[in-house]
Symmetry: D2
Subunit: 376 residues, 4 copies
């Protein structure tokens, strides 16, 4: 069991200093490859604690296959402070969200997936998988080098493409994020519905098997296309490449002792994938469709007194928060004159909450699950 460490320079700053990402890969024998990255959004720190604890645990485990960790996957974003907070969600020069500009590599490079399928049709699924991983990695290599030589490579493109290239050989991709003030929850594509129970997240959002710019989608969408192309040629396969986004509580928080349940779940999921050995467990969760995951955008600008916190449930008609508009203040009736309640429009559960009480109209107050199902 050997660790291989690789340093990939991503950013070059005005002073010429570089920020690199480092990949830490542990390999042993033959088995699936796992890719775990954290902090693509710079303020979302907790994934790094999970990675450190996973690495620590791997000392005692018997790995079969390989696993690559990328902690602090976006150093420019993590190091970008405005005041005491971390301005890490979007590129500070352009505003581009670090997790919305991944590349749909098959489409972008006009890769002829049908031809690939025809050519590989008689191979078994494991052989096709291996061949496709090689194709994918080459597509990324060529695309990056073509953008580079024509001076068309933006910062977001570069980071995202390097991460995609690194993840191209993986069977399991976990992108570790957090919410603002938030619960633990999982983004899980429809095709992965059966495996959500092996991870240990209390809440699961089921999303379409489609590309929309994020890492999880960017990693699974070539495989979805492959599966569909094979099906068109009459070959049905069970897709066993998984890509998920894990939301590990609140941003700006780094704790080596919290989110232990999710750590346990990730280890269990590695066992399910046979990268680690041992008993597999299943965990209950509540879920809803992404289309039932609603954002309450502030109907008022003002000072917000939040009535509910992440994990709280609410009923239609409940007050979610009260916004005090101090410019309406009548001192003879100070509270009544300034208070505007936000009423729940349907039953739900709080997933995320805005971290500030100074809120402008149109900002995100809450993100909530509605039409919730229980896994059991």
């Amino acid at each position: 069991m050997n660790w291989k460490v690789e340093q990939l320079p991503i950013y070059e700053l005005s002073t010429g200093d570089t920020f690199s990402i480092k990949t830490y890969t542990l390999s042993n024998g033959v088995g699936p490859h796992v890719h775990i990255q954290a902090s693509v959004h710079g303020a979302e720190l907790q994934g790094n604690a999970i990675i450190l604890r996973l690495m620590e645990q791997l000392k005692a485990e018997d790995l079969q296959g390989s696993i690559t960790f990328i902690p602090l996957a976006n150093p420019l974003a993590t190091n970008n402070k405005h005041g005491t907070y971390t301005f890490g969600r979007t590129n500070p020069h352009t505003g581009d969200n670090w997790n919305r500009n991944y590349t749909d590599i098959i489409e972008k490079t006009d890769f002829d997936i049908k031809e690939f399928c025809s050519k590989n049709l008689d191979k078994d699924w494991q052989q096709i998988k291996s061949a496709f991983k090689i194709e994918l990695e080459n597509l990324f290599k060529d695309h990056i080098s073509q953008l580079q030589s024509s001076h068309q490579l933006s910062e977001n493109n570069y980071l995202n493409l390097i991460l995609q290239k690194t993840a191209a050989k993986a069977d399991v991709i976990l992108d570790l994020h957090t919410g603002p003030i938030a619960t633990e929850y999982l983004y899980c594509a429809h095709y992965e519905k059966e495996i959500a129970k092996y991870l240990n997240f209390p809440y699961v959002l089921f999303m379409p098997d489609e590309f929309a710019g994020a890492m999880d989608e960017a990693a699974f969408s070539p495989w979805i296309k492959l599966k569909e192309s094979l099906a068109e040629l009459g070959k049905e396969i069970e897709l066993d490449v998984y890509s998920l986004t894990c939301e590990l509580g609140s941003e700006e928080v780094f704790s080596m002792t919290s989110q232990s349940d999710q750590l346990e779940g990730i280890i269990n999921f590695l066992k399910f994938n046979k990268v680690l050995s041992g008993e597999i467990q299943t965990y209950p969760y509540k879920s809803c469709e992404l289309s039932d995951y609603k954002t309450y955008q502030a109907p008022h600008g003002g000072l917000v007194d939040y009535k509910l916190s992440p994990y709280d449930t609410f009923k239609k008609g409940d007050t979610l928060c009260s916004t005090y508009k101090l410019n309406k203040l009548d001192p003879t009736n100070p509270i009544a004159s300034t208070k505007f309640d936000l009423i729940a429009q349907e039953d739900g559960l709080i997933i995320n909450r805005c971290p500030s009480s100074a809120v402008q109209k149109g900002m995100e107050l809450y993100q909530v699950m509605t039409n919730i199902s229980s896994s059991e």
Copy 2:
């Protein structure tokens, strides 16, 4: 001739204070309606000078139809300073570009344009236009109110939809912007190719007749769809609704005496559209396709010595700029050790230049026209 002023509150801040946009409409008799807005990107100020001077000129003109001005169309963005500069390109809370999140209203609301066309097929074009404007305005009204009542209305959505609603009745839409350090140039859709010569911009970018999120596209794309739907039903019309983005030099600049040529061109274009009366002129310009409008993304992080400025032309092989990477500094050979040249990959002309010499790898250095045609 009477001015009508309307105030539309757009933003409500944490203190409860509001920022409104104001529309100034001058009407006289029957004729086309013109919509001119400025500063949707907060640092792009020069359009306001053009509006003030146009208003001044209208004192002496004989308007036929109506014209609506919206100076300072995005007060949150113009008022948002970081240091002495204006951080006005993207929403400060989300990073969303203020000019990339307009709504494709026909698609978004599933408006049945075929049915509309069938119903109005025997009307003449002026009647169809009038009917369609009413439909459009109602689509926006309903869409805004539906988002509002379900608390789904973000700041960008709200501003953009209000501007779209206001522009829905217009035959001519001019969205006044600027570049960073920049020339004067025009974004002109393919269907508008014939009218570029009536405006007076030295450079014209021809872009597809398609929606991609910006105001100009958002304003013309329903009309493109209408035209196509009518054609499918056998009715060919000449589309005389024009929507263009006018780039008026550099950001952070407000001057009542510069860009007089473009002011003259806009007045000429109003004459062409018969909103004003008088001799119509044509002006020469250089143009290229949007696909030939190239961005040079910085291949190095460092201190950039720009060799070329907006309006400059260059040949393949010319040095566009030299980047000095001071972390490579060998004091016995200070210049040679730190200097990295950026070489032009084809002939072209500088349209935009980054306003800072402190540049990180991947930032936009130049935007250039290539494969340039002359209008004459």
Copy 3:
């Protein structure tokens, strides 16, 4: 009992829009004047909740004298968001701290306090107080108008001087602030030591009777100088003008139900000052000298796992936090290779904590009381 509302335009933005502060004054009969302001630092919101609740309570109280409230005393700062957080501590254009640039008006205007004392020496203290308040208010008026007419008035100056002018007639000045993630505590000058027990703050910092740029000092320092000047002329007075900074928990938080103890204490203090009537209580507190209030500046850059929270006490040698420097990561020993502990150098109690775990070397991690005394 009548409320008087006054609107004072402070800021004029690039769009011409203004941000005003509003003063709400309730007067009844003869008695001391109280000045309470909140949110000079824009993210420090909780004082506004206290003001609303105080106003609500005043409906039922029998005021003797007058009280002026200024909620949201710095609208530019409260409305200034970077991402979801409020960038409200310093002027966004200049970096000047909003609570460090008040004016030492006696010194700045070379006011001859000795002459004033000589002239008023035979009056009683109440008469001298009244006369001095009038002088102070005029000094501010003249100074503002002199800066204004010579175009020397910066944004910080203007806000601060207007607040000082408004507070010039007050006998009691409370400046409501919060810490980052913080306890409730009071800044109390040495000359006010005896009255700290009438407010209800668990922690009190005793600071010198000297001007150092903050509002509390700016409000009391003319009175300190007056007292000293009178003493030099042989007249000893008991200074009964009080100016204090009240820290009401954490920034970005607005809650109508928390900090009720401090609300009770403020009401008790108004009773002590005979502005309200009723039983006076005293409250216990822990205190230290400002020179024993220590800031732990981060000795490392890294991800910080905070071991202690506000209100926690610690002993010399305790671990205050562990900083994980991921660039030191040895995957075979992930925790030991990255973990750096910060050890307490003496016994103490946590007052403030940095709100982010992404910390650069030299940033403030904790502010702590040491050499703590108990009031009882």
Copy 4:
């Protein structure tokens, strides 16, 4: 002639990455020591071009003594971008101006300069100088290490103290800055009045021989105190340690071909100091006292049409700029209703101008020299 390069890690970021400054020292034989640093304010880039060109020139020169260059003296600041601009004037976490928080080391450490003078009184000036440099360097070393061990070292302190320590052995200290949009000018203390003519800056500001937080003052003020202490003991010396701030045009600009006159002047000044050999020239300049260097703070918020640029002179009563307040817009009289002129209050010359036309009331519009003298 040998170059010595030293790397000093200053910043440690959240990722653990460090930003260092590098000192490049060329020594030859015995002679004065020169210290030249650039970019303590991160956006002020042109000093780096001057340093590169000076280094290039040194290839051909015969140095006598030694010279230390610190290009990019504040990498955190130069790398800190908000949008395309560099937010480099103040610490992004605290707002502290990078050039206002240097330490008055003699006062801070209670160094007994009188005792030092008594002890060294019979030495000649060159010997006293050498001894004092050693004392200074040790004071900085001890002070830094004391702050470090007690965890009291902020980012600004650390950078500034390291620069001061490095400059402690210098006879000539040049701190290279720029203005916003600006001329070339020199800050020169009164005691240095005679040497301004050897540098080649068209404008010179004469400032008091006192410490006020900036590098130039921090570097000369120990020597002023030494000179005064010696004088008290009856020993008059001619102070030949020079510390000056050189302002090299506009921020965000890096050009290897501009400011050649100032480069020539710096070389001439090195000749005057006998570090280089050759003919010494003198140059004419215009100057005023720092108290006659006036800032016009914007009397209005609005869009500013600047009438004057750096280098321009004006007369009392001239219009310096016109501010257009678009919220006052009357469309029947658009220009007259919105235009507010700023009138010069006395004759003067423009040194600096705000780089944006979007200006809030109270922001700095112009900095101007008044009561100007000519050196010839």
